[in-house]
């Protein structure tokens, strides 16, 4: 067995008594006690997540006007980079292959024309970087693509997140008070973004790896509670956010994965995967499910609808709703409110199709 990779906060997790698991080759905390309590903490207070396994990649232009960086991203990703005109704004997008499959989903921050920062998933980081470097070379862009493994990333999430961050970082309040959702600001090597993966207000802060343990301690002293990857998954699913590798991957069409809102087919851009998407026939949709019977929905369970079969892509028990919820890829033409059946072990249980997100900002939406 190869040795697991460790984030700069690994020792901090072990001191806190976290249960550690192999998460795509990384030694990560799945919980520090009760996953359900951690979930509620983020909905009602402030939770801290070590997300340093994710990889920031800086895209810098050698061209003084920086037109290359924007041109590169215009072609690389499915969302339209030209939506980013104000420094600090962020864009969520998929990066597709020529067949229209999803290589990864990522967040792109526009700092200036010479500097875009992309944050990619941990499990796909090597593949993503190789793909971006290949495109950079093939398209003659001559950009500098720099993976930032020298940075650590901490997510501070929940209704109390702003107060905790302000207390842990004296002087940050002038910035956190004005930073808009889905925007970021750089302060030297520190990078503060008002983004997250929980459906709550919050921040994702990148700091130099060597400063991370000190920063984490300050956040805990300010009242932030450590949250493991277990609760991260139930929080994002309640918030209706896709998880790469489960809800979409290289074999799935983003237009059948609830990601049409991130694919820009209006502009005339020729991005990788566009032709394949335009030629594809859309027969499925990603829908929310709520289990009406007792049990727990899990990925890969079969869904039976009046228009044919589908499959659950992500399922869990929702601590906020106290019942099981899921995202499922099912045939088109099944509307919210309709009942379907899900095969769990040897039984067919009743579930209701629902709009998602299920929960946002602490409020139940269904």
């Amino acid at each position: 067995m190869t040795e697991l990779k460790k984030t700069p906060l690994n020792a901090a997790h072990r001191e806190l008594g976290a249960k550690m698991v192999d998460f795509g080759g990384w030694d990560m905390p799945v919980n520090y006690g009760s996953q359900i309590e951690e979930h509620h903490t983020v909905r009602s207070g402030c939770g801290l997540f070590d997300v340093s396994h994710m990889l920031p990649v800086d895209i810098k232009s050698s061209d003084p006007k920086g037109e290359n960086a924007r041109a590169f991203l215009r072609r690389l990703v499915a969302n339209n980079i030209d939506k980013l005109q104000v420094s600090g704004k962020a864009l969520y997008s998929c990066m597709l292959n020529e067949a229209g499959g999803v290589i990864d989903d990522l967040i792109i921050y526009f700092m200036d024309e010479n500097w875009f920062r992309v944050v990619v998933n941990a499990g796909t980081a090597d593949k993503d970087l190789a793909w971006m470097q290949q495109c950079n070379a093939d398209w003659g862009m001559n950009l500098a693509l720099t993976p930032r493994r020298d940075l650590a990333m901490v997510a501070i999430q929940g209704p109390d997140a702003k107060r905790v961050l302000n207390e842990a970082l004296p002087g940050a309040d002038s910035l956190t008070e004005t930073l808009k959702p889905f925007s970021a600001a750089a302060l030297g090597e520190m990078f503060i973004a008002r983004t997250g993966y929980t459906g709550e207000d919050g921040f994702e802060v990148m700091v130099l790896a060597k400063s991370a343990p000190f920063f984490w301690k300050a956040l805990m002293e300010a009242g932030g509670k450590p949250i493991g990857l277990g609760a991260r998954d139930t929080l994002r699913l309640e918030a209706g956010m896709n998880l790469y590798g489960q809800d979409m991957d290289e074999t799935t069409n983003p237009l059948e994965s609830g990601l049409a809102w991130t694919v820009d087919l209006k502009s005339a851009r020729d991005f990788v995967g566009r032709k394949a998407l335009e030629a594809s026939e859309i027969t499925k949709q990603l829908a929310g499910l709520v289990l009406l019977d007792k049990g727990v929905l899990r990925s890969h369970q079969k869904v039976f609808t009046k228009h044919g079969e589908g499959e659950i892509t992500s399922g869990t028990f929702s601590p906020t709703l106290q019942q099981s919820i899921a995202l499922a890829r099912i045939p088109l033409g099944i509307a919210p409110g309709e009942e379907v059946e899900v095969e769990i072990r040897d039984k067919k249980l009743k579930a209701k199709v629902d709009n998602y997100p299920f929960v946002r900002n602490g409020k139940v939406l269904i």
């Binding site: 249960k19 799945v30 919980n31 009760s34 996953q35 359900i36 277990g230 139930t234 007792k294 049990g295 727990v296 899990r298 869990t316 028990f317 601590p319 072990r345």
Partner: protein, 129 residues
């Protein structure tokens, strides 16, 4: 947490208590609930069901995962604990108190063949490597 000396155990992490009336009470061990995390669903076998030793007969699900529970010995289900079905978290709170079901064994001596506390402790240690 120490492993109770008065119980028997299986390799699949059930605990078994031989009762004075000849039945056996079954639950999952503290170690098993610790591996699974917060319990959210329990499904017990129906009373009257005949079980073979090692047969899948119940399910426990945590937020994280589903796990089968196996019959430690052959016999007939004579009781099922509704309290853990309605409040699965009882298994996290007290794994050796929150019993799941009772079996009347076909052969009372089968219970003796199960692991004792020391044997189970060694089994858990071996799985950790």
């Amino acid at each position: 947490m120490s492993i109770p000396a008065d119980l028997k155990y299986t390799h699949s992490h059930e605990w078994v208590k031989a009762e004075a009336d000849g039945t056996v009470t079954v639950g999952i061990t503290h170690h098993a609930q610790d591996l699974l995390g917060d319990m959210v669903f329990v499904e017990n076998p129906a009373v009257g069901r005949k079980l073979k030793a090692g047969e899948e007969c119940a399910v426990v699900e945590s937020v994280k995962a589903a796990s089968d529970v196996y019959a430690p010995v052959a016999g007939e289900v004579v009781a099922s604990n509704d309290a853990v079905e309605s409040s699965p978290e009882k298994i996290n709170q007290d794994a050796y108190g929150a019993w799941m079901f009772k079996i009347r064994p076909d052969n009372a001596a089968d219970v003796n063949a199960l692991l004792d506390a020391a044997g189970y402790e060694a089994h858990v240690a071996s799985e950790a490597h």
